[in-house]
């Protein structure tokens, strides 16, 4: 075990060193490292006991104490899978030939990121945790700004950095308080700390997890990063925040209201996140907002678990928890798959605007297929993995409702909002899939797109397979999940019951669906297939511009959420007998950022300008400041000095 993890770390370091010299060698090391890490994680998940190691030497005055228990192993497995898949994808997507300046840098930071996330998950000492955490955040920053010649990338990167640091400083306070109360930096289950510390952790880790309204940095960062980076940031990096919340929600006493708060945040993120996603025209922004939704889904489960544990370990809590943990995996898998797909599309068409795509299934069938599968999964539809996780969470909520316990009321709105979020997700991804891959190409670029290299398809295929397997055979992963749940709250390991029927049912369903599709196709063929223009109510010359656009697709839902979006609209009606060109533009801003945070920032900027005005260079005034300072201090001391 220790050997495997050591080997993984060494391999990743080697990959960093080799990155500049040989892409192939570096990749080989990355693969070996992530594989070893994955095996170690699985060994813990499917084995009985945790792994623990304490160093003889001290770093920063603290012995390096590493621990790999169910919860951290669960996340570590995800890190390794996506770390490997992303590295493979990057070979085709961000090659030295196309990006001589940044490809090698990208490999270095990629391996560093994977390594640091592994450390975040294993380190079990406050001070060292902060180190790993900050290093991980910085790796993320340097990956996002790989292409730092583009101003919007720099802007997005800085926003990410700023938000992340705000969270980190909250964590400084959190860990310092923790250490002050427990008297040691060593982390572990403890009861003798004030529960309200949890709020600090929730904010600090929430800035990374990106639940609503801490998500302000997320859309731009994930949209302007290279797609393989978006994949790991969106699929894995934000999960580190979830890990933090889960970890310390499990280890430390939490206030009574924590469960409600987390469920509430989760529900808000789920609905608002996916509503924003629906309104996007940039495919990667859409996926980023969808991550906000999925974090919300996970938090709903987690919050329910906190609620249940706070009220005598109600049995339904463990179902919700298991669902949340399983969804961590699922979201990691299909979100990375979707970002890879989006990357391939971007690679082929050179744009992220869905309104400039269309009909891509013809030129890139494989990408289209994988994307469609990802869309089904992310919409939480059977028979794929997305459904399994959400099903467990629903089950927890419904069981909570059936108990009719007073505190379980939160389950009712949560379940309903979760359902609405699910329906909205279905709509958003129908929009994405339909606008990108179906219909007729809307631009020349889309018409002349080419399928991406097999090197990029392979990782997509692997992730798609994983989604399918978890979907039709959830029983395979159940032991791992229940192991994690058990180490989150002893005695919460889930028995095999829930999936005993659902699993086979999903399998049969998948089989039947495939069979039926095939048969119908055969039948239609035998009846005779004739190709003709789309029946567009009599139009003989339908042009691509007549197609339904993503914007109009989102119209109805965007209308419902206008109260929150505050969309910017420009609307010029055609007027008069010979109307001039009319137009109707609608842009949904990142409301929290542009309507709330940026004005506040402008206020502070004005303040700082005023301050700089004082540094005007006139010596006389400088001496006046000195005298003023003297006088103020004098008065201060006089007042303080009064006995």
């Amino acid at each position: 075990m220790s050997g495997a993890l050591l080997f993984a770390a060494v391999c990743l370091l080697a990959a960093m060193c080799a990155a500049a010299r040989s892409a192939r060698v570096s990749f080989a090391f990355t693969m070996a490292g992530t594989l070893a890490g994955l095996l170690a994680a699985l060994a813990v998940l499917f084995g009985p006991d945790d792994w623990e190691w304490t160093s003889a030497f001290a770093l920063g005055g603290e012995p390096a104490h590493l621990r790999l228990d169910g919860v951290s192993a669960l996340f570590l497995a995800l890190v390794c899978v996506i770390g490997g898949a992303g590295a493979a994808y990057a070979r085709g997507y961000w090659p030295d030939s196309a990006y001589p300046a940044s490809a090698a840098r990208g490999r270095v930071w990629w391996n560093a990121l994977v390594l640091c996330m592994g450390l975040v998950l294993t380190v079990s000492n406050g001070l060292l945790f902060l180190m790993a955490w900050e290093a991980f955040a910085l790796c993320g920053f340097f990956l996002i700004t790989l292409d730092n010649r583009r101003p919007e990338v720099r802007k997005a990167g800085w926003l990410y950095l700023a938000a992340s640091h705000a969270g980190t400083l909250a964590l400084f306070a959190f860990f310092a308080l923790l250490a002050a109360h427990t008297g040691t930096w060593d982390l572990g289950p403890t009861r003798d700390v004030p529960p309200h510390l949890f709020w600090l952790a929730l904010f600090g880790f929430g800035m990374k997890a990106g639940f609503f309204p801490c998500h302000i940095w997320l859309p731009s960062a994930h949209a302007s990063a290279p797609s393989h980076v978006s994949a790991i940031m969106s699929g894995v990096a934000i999960k580190m925040g979830v890990y933090g919340i889960a970890r310390f929600g499990g280890w430390l006493p939490v206030p009574a209201s924590a469960g409600y708060a987390v469920v509430g945040l989760g529900a808000a993120s789920a609905v608002l996140g996916i509503a924003f996603a629906m309104a996007q025209n940039d495919i990667k922004r859409l996926l980023a907002y969808c991550s906000v939704e999925n974090i919300g889904v996970i938090l709903i489960g987690l919050g329910a678990a906190l609620l249940a544990r706070a009220h005598g370990n109600a049995a339904w809590g463990k179902l919700a928890l298991a669902g949340a943990l399983l969804h961590v995996w699922n979201h990691g898998l299909f979100k990375s798959l979707l970002f890879f797909g989006a990357g391939s599309v971007l690679h082929a068409t050179g744009t992220r605007e869905m309104s400039r795509m269309g009909g891509l299934w013809r030129s890139m069938p494989w990408t289209a297929g994988f994307f469609a599968l990802g869309a089904v999964a992310v919409s939480g539809l059977p028979p794929l993995n997305g459904f399994v996780g959400e099903w467990l969470i629903y089950l927890g909520l419904f069981d909570a409702a059936t108990t009719r316990a007073g505190f379980a009321w939160a389950a009712l709105p949560a379940a309903i909002l979760l359902a609405m979020a699910g329906a909205l997700a279905l709509a958003s991804f129908l929009k994405a899939g339909g606008t990108i891959f179906l219909g007729a190409p809307r631009t020349k670029a889309a018409a002349h797109a080419r399928e991406c290299a097999p090197g990029m398809l392979a990782p997509m295929g692997a992730l798609a397979a994983a989604c399918a397997v978890i979907g039709i055979a959830p029983a395979l992963v159940l032991p791992a999940i229940s192991r994690a749940a058990g180490s989150w709250n002893p005695g919460w390991s889930v028995t095999g019951a829930p999936f005993s029927i659902l699993g086979p049912a999903q399998f049969v369903l998948a089989a039947l669906a495939a069979a039926a599709g095939f048969l119908l196709w055969k039948k239609s063929r035998s009846n005779g297939l004739r190709r003709d223009l789309t029946w567009d109510c009599g139009y003989r010359e339908p042009t691509p511009r007549m197609q339904y656009t993503g914007g109009s697709f989102a119209g109805i839902v965007a209308g419902w959420f206008r109260w929150f979006f505050w969309p910017e609209r420009r609307f010029r009606r055609p007027r008069g007998p010979f109307p001039s060109a009319s137009l109707r533009l609608e842009r949904v801003p990142e409301t929290v950022l542009e309507r709330l945070v940026e004005p506040a920032g402008a206020l502070i900027t004005r303040l700082s300008d005023a301050a700089l005005g004082l540094q005007h260079g006139r010596l006389q005034a400088y001496i006046l400041y000195l005298v003023a300072g003297l006088a103020t201090l004098g008065v201060f001391v006089f007042l303080e000095g009064k006995p």
């Binding site: 001290a58 770093l59 920063g60 005055g61 001070l127 902060l130 180190m131 900050e134 290093a135 910085l138 700004t145 730092n148 010649r149 101003p151 720099r154 990167g157 800085w158 950095l161 700023a162 640091h165 705000a166 400083l169 909250a170 400084f172 306070a173 310092a176 308080l177 250490a179 002050a180 502070i604 900027t605 303040l607 700082s608 300008d609 301050a611 700089l612 540094q615 260079g617 010596l619 400088y622 001496i623 400041y625 000195l626 003023a628 300072g629 003297l630 201090l633 004098g634 201060f636 001391v637 006089f638 303080e640 000095g641």
Partner: protein, 480 residues
């Protein structure tokens, strides 16, 4: 004996350098004397000499806790100075080298001063000796900076003399025999006349605070650091300020003994937080990456004074922070100097994309920036966590919150400036600069070394240093 040597050797070196005929070989005095000085300093650190309580000068624990880092910083800067002065052949460096060495000697004196008067004299002398350093570039801007440094600093120093008088008179009024060693003053303790002590505290805090660069007495700092060369900036930020800080610590101990510790702590907290807030505001707006360093230094002076106001724990952390801050700031100043040389301008308006022009210096600059904003695993992270811990343990929750908020905004400001300098497409002007300036190993190694020292200091804080800081705290907070 050695404790006097570390004062005399640099002064002698300064005289010799002033007499030395050759402009090309003269710079070698800096690393040579620096090495000797550092060796002696660490020898003293390893084997602290016994200091008789009534001695006016001596390598007491407080000196041991701060002086070595100044010496170390000077050594590295000296090594850097040789190639730097080589590319600055156009300027005669006689006065520069001599003054730099004199500053070292006088700093050593100031750190070892155990007498109110000696302390003041040393600080005053340092102030005067630093003048030619600021004036080295010999441009109108440099002159202006020097003029402001002199007048503001001079006023501050004058006030600290007045404060010293007040403290002396408070001892007289309390029946003292006019023995102004800190030991005696502390011993007199409650005997000191209260009004005079308070007056003295205000005046001395403002006076030495001016040298330290606490807001609102900081005004000379941006100009001086902005115009001075990297070495001078590093020495001023890492060395001179530390003398003023240890002076404030010594005086605080006296005020403490007179039973006014509450007043002293609260004033230190207030002025510390005010400095941090002011610095953060300036950092958010400044468009000059050398002045940015000055503001960041103001912020860290605020952190030091905050720590000094938090009792023994805080003072221990503050001493730690003196070390980590000096080393990290040194790295920043030197790398910024390289960038300044290559870019030909200190202003964001015409500098960007330096990563493409001077990759190594830019990398060090970025890393140093992260280090100085308390990003782990560099030294400042650990020292500032200690300060945070001290604030929490002493129930200064509000101070801790303010501390963190200021850190956050300072981070915003610094990252904004630094990445504007480093990222993006370089201007054609910078390409010209590239031809004029080549970042040789000799110019890159010293800042890198400082950065690694800061890293090492954070990760593996030597027990020896920790012991020294503990001893210094014990000296400043004598158990009754």
């Amino acid at each position: 004996m050695i404790s006097h040597l570390i004062i005399l050797i640099p002064l002698a070196g300064s005289v010799l350098a002033a007499l030395w005929p050759d402009n090309r070989t003269r710079p070698w005095f800096l690393p040579a004397v620096g090495l000797l000085h550092a060796a002696l300093c660490f020898r003293l650190l390893a084997a602290p000499p016994a200091v008789s309580p009534e001695a006016w000068m001596g390598f007491d624990p407080l000196a041991a806790a701060v002086l070595p880092v100044v010496s170390l910083l000077f050594l590295v800067c000296g090594v850097y100075a040789v190639p730097y002065l080589k590319i600055r052949q156009e300027r005669p460096n006689r006065v520069f080298v001599a003054a730099l060495l004199a500053v070292l000697g006088l700093l050593s004196a100031g750190h070892q001063a155990r007498h109110l008067g000696i302390l003041w004299i040393a600080t005053e002398a340092v102030t005067l000796a630093a003048v030619p350093l600021l004036h080295f570039n010999n441009t109108p801007r440099a002159f202006e900076a020097t003029w402001k440094y002199l007048l503001v600093g001079g006023t501050g120093i004058a006030l600290s003399l007045l404060g010293s008088f007040c403290l002396g008179y408070s001892s007289l009024h309390g029946g003292g025999e006019g023995d102004l060693t800190f030991v005696a003053l502390t011993a007199q303790g409650a005997g000191l006349s209260r009004p005079w002590v308070l007056a003295a505290w205000v005046l001395l805090l403002v006076g030495y605070g001016t040298k330290m660069g606490l807001a609102p007495m900081h005004t000379w700092k941006p100009d001086a650091y902005g115009e001075a060369s990297g070495i001078v900036g590093a020495i001023l930020a890492g060395g001179v300020t530390s003398v003023a800080f240890s002076a404030i610590l010594r005086i605080r101990a006296v005020v403490d003994s007179s039973g006014e510790s509450r007043v002293a702590d609260h004033t230190l907290l207030a002025i510390g937080l005010f400095s941090m807030a002011a610095a953060a505001l300036f950092l958010l707006g400044t468009r000059d990456y050398k002045r940015m360093l000055a503001y960041s230094s103001i912020e860290h002076m605020g952190i030091l004074s905050l720590g000094a106001g938090l009792g023994p724990l805080g003072v221990w952390a503050a001493l730690f922070h003196v070390w980590s801050n000096s080393l990290t700031k040194g790295a920043l100043f030197l790398s910024a100097g390289n960038i300044r040389r290559a870019a030909g301008s200190p202003s964001l308006d015409d500098v960007r994309g330096m990563a493409a022009v001077v990759p190594r210096s830019s990398a060090i600059f970025v890393a140093g920036m992260f280090a100085v904003t308390a990003c782990p695993p560099f030294g400042p992270f650990f020292s500032e966590m200690k300060i945070l811990g001290a604030a929490i343990k002493t129930n200064h929750g509000l101070a801790a919150a303010g501390f963190l908020v200021c850190l956050l905004f300072a981070f915003f400001g610094l990252t904004r400036v630094v990445f504007a300098v480093v990222d993006g497409r370089p201007r054609p002007a910078a390409k010209v600069g590239e031809k004029r300036f080549r970042e040789t190993l000799a110019l890159v190694a010293p800042p890198l070394l400082l950065l690694f020292l800061s890293l090492w200091l954070g990760l593996f804080t030597p027990a020896l240093l920790q012991g020294t800081w503990t001893a210094a705290v014990a000296q400043l907070f004598p158990k009754p």
